[in-house]
């Protein structure tokens, strides 16, 4: 066990953990940031996606000992008041069904749009490889991402 200083959602958090604890469980069990979901633990479903220095990462595949000073953003830190354009678009397009995977889906969208402000359908496909929604909300995810693209009509 060791003490790790994680920079999560703009704040420093000290967590005591074994080095190989996945960031996922540190966020959920130690920091009570339960918006990041467990879906498989093997990086195959995307439910646990967070941003690490702005890039979408599967938090179940990132050991807490490896995070260092990188900036971690979870769904709780995407916006202060739930008014991030993606969150608004997700509500507007009524994307969620059971909703369990949607925080991960939103974080992947945030990373995609940060990199490509006007993603093509192919870009969206590529951003959602190994990203499962068991309720089949894919059409609406695509719509909501496009609604937040730079060139989208307001």
């Amino acid at each position: 066990m060791a003490l790790y200083h994680l920079h999560v959602n703009g704040k420093d958090h000290a967590v005591e953990a074994v080095a190989d604890m996945p960031l996922l469980w540190a966020l959920r069990d130690l920091l009570d940031l339960t918006g990041t979901k467990y879906g498989c633990g093997i990086g195959a479903c995307g439910a646990c996606t967070v941003l690490i220095n702005g890039k979408a990462q599967r938090s179940c595949q990132v050991e807490v000992g490896s995070v260092g000073k990188q900036k971690v953003t979870t769904i709780e830190g995407l916006s202060a008041d739930g008014n991030h354009p993606l969150q608004k678009a997700w509500i507007e397009h009524d994307v969620p069904a059971c909703g369990y995977c949607q925080t991960g889906q939103i974080m992947s969208a945030a990373a995609l749009l940060a990199e490509k402000s006007n993603p093509t359908d192919k870009d969206i496909d590529d951003a959602y490889v190994a990203h499962i929604c068991r309720c089949g909300t894919y059409d609406r995810i695509r719509e909501a991402v496009k609604a937040c693209a730079k060139g989208a009509k307001a």
Binding site: V18, D29, T34, T137
Partner: protein, 701 residues
Amino acid sequence: MIQEKLVENDVSRRGFLRLVGGVGTSFVLGSFTTVACARGNVAEVATADPGEKKEDKATAFVPNGYLKIEQDGTVTVTVFKSEMGQGVRTSLALLVAEDLDADWQKVAVVQAPGGGEPVGGQGTGGSSSVRTTYKQMREVGASARMMLVAAAAKQWGVEASACKTDAGKVIGPNGKTLTYGELAAPAMLIAIPDAGSVALKPKDEFKILGKGKSRLDNPNIVTGKAMYGLDIKVPGMKYAVIARPPNFGAKVASFDESAAKVVPGVKQVFQMGSGVAVIADNTWASIKGREALKIKWTDGPHMDVSSDSIHKALLAELVDHKPMPEGAKVVEATFDLPFIAHATMEPMNAVADVQADKCEIWAGCQTPDSGRDQVAQKVNLPRDSVKVNVCLLGGGFGRRLFTEYMVEAAEISQKAKCPIKLLWTREDDMKNDHYRSMSHSSFKGAVDASGNPVGWSHQCIRAEGGNGKFGRAGIPYKIDGASMLVGGVSTPVSTGPWRSVEHTQFDVVNECFIDELAHAAGQDPFEFRKKNMGDKRLLLVLETVAKNSGWGTPMPKGYGRGIACFAGYGTYAAHVVEVKVTGDTIKVTRVVAAIDPGIAVNPKGIESQMQSGCSDALSLGLRAAITVDNGAIVQNSWDDYNWLTLDAMPKFELTIIEGSDDPGGMGEPAFPSVQPALANAIFAATGKRVRKFPIQVSELV
């Protein structure tokens, strides 16, 4: 494997009407009167959501156990059904809000814990929630509205009949208004109207129903605040996983916990009903502790069971089809369907806090009431001492009708003497499901010289795992003497209902085979269905998808279009699927759907369900299956249970037709006609028939 008696079902047109047309929208108004209009049961039904603010009940209008209106105008509907993505919390609130004439912006929901006796029961499944409570939920709103109007009329000294309501306000004849919040306290003094005096709004006055509302849970979901079972944390809670038998019926012979106990954070290791439990300070420690356990298992008695052995056993149950009419052109076909897992996005889990005299459970479950009974029995407490808090479900699909994970969590909590959060890892979940059964269907049918269907014999043999044999069979086509035999073989693979239940088997292959009869008759599959259709509402959705898809227009080489339809749960659906087949690759390019769900309570929810049914069906049609080898489930996780991803979701076009004023179910009917339309499209593209799901080009015949 034990042979079970074949059951014969009559599936003539009359049989269809009896079996499918008669699906229940029945309810007992009497129970509504006593339950919904009885005051004083609010404490029993209000949510136990941790952190919920305590209301001063004297100032809120609480006409019954389903509804509360506070002085700030907030309308809170207590929902007894479980939310698993079907939108039921929103749909039921919409029903109350419409006849209440509420301001939708001020409507909220709370979840009832298990143990109430609400209208429609508390179990959530069979696409029944809206169907069985539609009128009662509206009457809850309508009766409360009458009381609010009476309170306002009394205050103004006018006749109630001279007052109107709109968006959370009563409007008097003099133009004065009072908000529902302002009327909350005085309305509590108004007598509850007799059930017979409560009138519902005519459909043309609807302001909320049928308009398409976004889900009430969305703001919490998109900010990560929504609480699923796995998100619950209670003081003093420890985390547990269970090392489970590696094959069906395996038992713990012995285990060495020493390596597990030195994993940092591991607190306790003990044997329990399902295997060996590891209890730790956090989830990761419990998982690592489980990995470090050395367990010697005694193999179960089913090591020779595999998908192949089960397939052979299914075939062995087949009997000769009855003779087809003489001189008719006979068509034969078989279809094999695998086991399938529910694989809800949130795997099974529960939090349990068992104390000497009481027990509390937090979990996503479809049957909180029976789950409570099972927990009570396990921990030896009276059922009234067990409270089940229903969290949001990260998917249900029928899996959470079973609540053994709640029972396990309670068992561990009792033994560990602390609150426990039990996690089924994805692998636990994939390998210990109650699967949709594997099945083999054998068909013999016939068409006469004029192209009329004159014979239909379907035998479906299923691998039954003991949890219910679902068998509502029927075809919507007029074929004299049509019959179906349903048989089963017992296997150690636990089976249970999976979205659309038996229709994932019977109707999927029926709609493949009717296509083959059409082909044998030399007729277009849509025209053939139309000509022989015995149901007007189903015919209309079928015609709608044909029209909207451009049915009959030419397609490029390698492309094909398939059609299929389904009636059940009070709803009628049809799909046209378009595919492109290139070499071994099947790409679904477009899906055109039409649905007649009766009155469309929430069109947005209907569209969500229809897309979901499509995604499920394409997953099972093209990619995902559960197989058995060496007495165990082969698949582990999402890497080998190959579900549909975003890139493969086709363009989806939906038309909603309202064929009656009674709402049908939505979760289940979205599924069955997609897969056969896909198989029929592949035939149209390749000239080859599907005999096995998931479909592979190399296995077409």
